[in-house]
Amino acid sequence: MFGIMDKIKPRIKAAATSEAACGLHCIKANNITVRKGRQLIIDKINLHIHCGKITVLIGRNGAGKSTLIKAILGEIKHEGSIEFTDLRNRTVENLSIGYVPQYINLGKNTPMSVYDLFASYISNAPAFMYKSKKIYQRVKEQLAIFDAEDLIDKRACDLSGGELQRLLLSIAVTPIPNLLLLDEPVSGIDRNGRQLFYQNIAKLKSNYDLAMIIVSHDFDFVRKYADHVILLDKVIVKEGTPEEVLSSEDFQMVFG
């Protein structure tokens, strides 16, 4: 029974991925504004994102990048609206959002395996009582997308920065969201880890039908992988292709 399901599943997935990057899903953020007391953190941000595209947010510290991410997630109060439309039939659908955080709260020596951590987010089978075989299998499959299936029984607090990143990425894409948000995903990761991470992002882009917004300071990455770059400083200062933004005067003003 289990074996059959395993054989069918990849096919189902393949069927889903044939739709990868159909370009017909569109996410629009209109006039996103966030205030903290009287202070404006971000002011009337408009975004227009299509599935299969990587949008990178750049900007100095305190420019409001993380705030924008959290506003899109609905975690902080904001003005403006976010719409998700299927352009084929013009229907508005519910937007599912995946999120890859910068860090997690896991004290030293916390007794929690990668399975426990993962299962907490995707299942209700109480992890403190038993290990569900079904969920274990599912977690393993999802980790395997990023070649991280060997981590499943390790303690989560013993993972390296890169390993933790792959774990968080797997959690964020279980199930595949319409929009994936990554907040400075490579801070504290060595060069090899970064390369691997970027390859994984590219893999996601080519295999799944989702849009990504990434906060990044790595301009090599921006040049190589971004479809659209947004230079943020409370408002959108400049946006366009990587060449356009990275060679602009505004970019030189902020980072030069």
Binding site: G74, N105, P111, A125
Partner: protein
């Protein structure tokens, strides 16, 4: 009632089980300690030790409020106050304007001071000093029944909400992105802590009840490598120190609560030492 007593006597044919108050105390320990053992794991993970400590201390205010308004059932006024206190602390914590341990400390000191002021009017505090160290030997059959109900409720809560609470504890935003209702669950968990602490504080004592929440989980952390082991060891350590503490206190004539805490602390140090040695090799 009598059947339960008979069962205890036949399983444990010792001199201490001849007394009904000891049998009651044993039953109470068997109900309280697994609850404390398992909740403690999450409290330690979330670094909420200070929060639960403050809740324990708020029992004094609860009793004081009961005394002022002439509420005859002290349990009730303690419980209501602790629940309100816990929810209030959560609300303030979410505003993120002051560091949360500062907030907790301010409110804990204030509520304890109010409690002490009210209860010590006319130099009568001695009447309430049993509250500080607790008196498990005075627990009645009905009160064991209440504990059992609370035990069942918290077990159900744990079965249905543990994963979500764990998810929140690891990263709130990530939990939110998975449609977990963070604020609601945090509030429920705080209320549950308030309920279990208040239901046991008269038996264990305000001064040491927090130790019973923290020590078994802290000791278990030294040995466990996943959440199942973490819970299992914590519950076993909690039960073991509870029962041993009760028996020792009977023969040695100590107060039961502190004896239990000392045993749990000894287990903590032994496990810490073992883990240090094992990691060295």
């Amino acid at each position: 009632m009598n059947t339960v007593y008979k069962i205890i006597e036949s399983i444990l044919p010792f001199s201490w089980t001849e007394y009904n108050f000891m049998k009651n105390a044993l039953l109470a320990i068997i109900i309280i300690s697994p609850m404390f053992g398992s909740m403690g794991t999450m409290i330690v993970n979330n670094k909420m030790a200070f929060f639960s400590d403050a809740l324990g201390h708020s029992a004094l205010t609860g009793v004081a409020i009961g005394a002022i308004f002439g509420i005859s059932d002290v349990n009730l006024s303690m419980l209501i106050f602790a629940v309100v206190f816990a929810l209030l602390l959560n609300r303030i914590k979410r505003k993120k304007t002051v560091s949360s341990d500062t907030v907790i400390s301010v409110f804990a000191s204030l509520s304890m001071a109010i409690g002490l002021v009210v209860l010590s009017r006319g130099g009568n505090f001695a009447k309430y000093s049993a509250l500080l160290v607790g008196d498990i030997l005075s627990i009645s059959w009905d009160e064991i029944g209440y504990l059992l109900i609370i035990f069942i409720v918290s077990l159900l809560f744990w079965l249905f909400c543990f994963n979500k609470l764990n998810a929140i504890s690891i990263n709130e935003t990530l939990a939110k992105s998975k449609n977990i209702r963070v604020a609601l669950l945090e509030d429920l968990f705080s209320v549950l802590i308030a309920v279990i602490v208040m239901s046991s504080v008269r038996w264990i004592g305000i001064l040491i009840i927090n130790a019973l929440l923290i020590l078994p989980a802290a000791a278990s952390r030294n040995m466990a490598s996943n959440v199942r082991e973490y819970h299992l060891f914590s519950v076993i350590i909690s039960l073991f120190s509870g029962i041993c503490g009760l028996i020792i206190s009977f023969y040695a004539g100590f107060a039961a609560g502190p004896t239990i805490v000392i045993i749990a602390a000894l287990i903590f140090f032994v496990t810490l030492l073992l883990s240090l040695i094992l990691r060295h090799n």
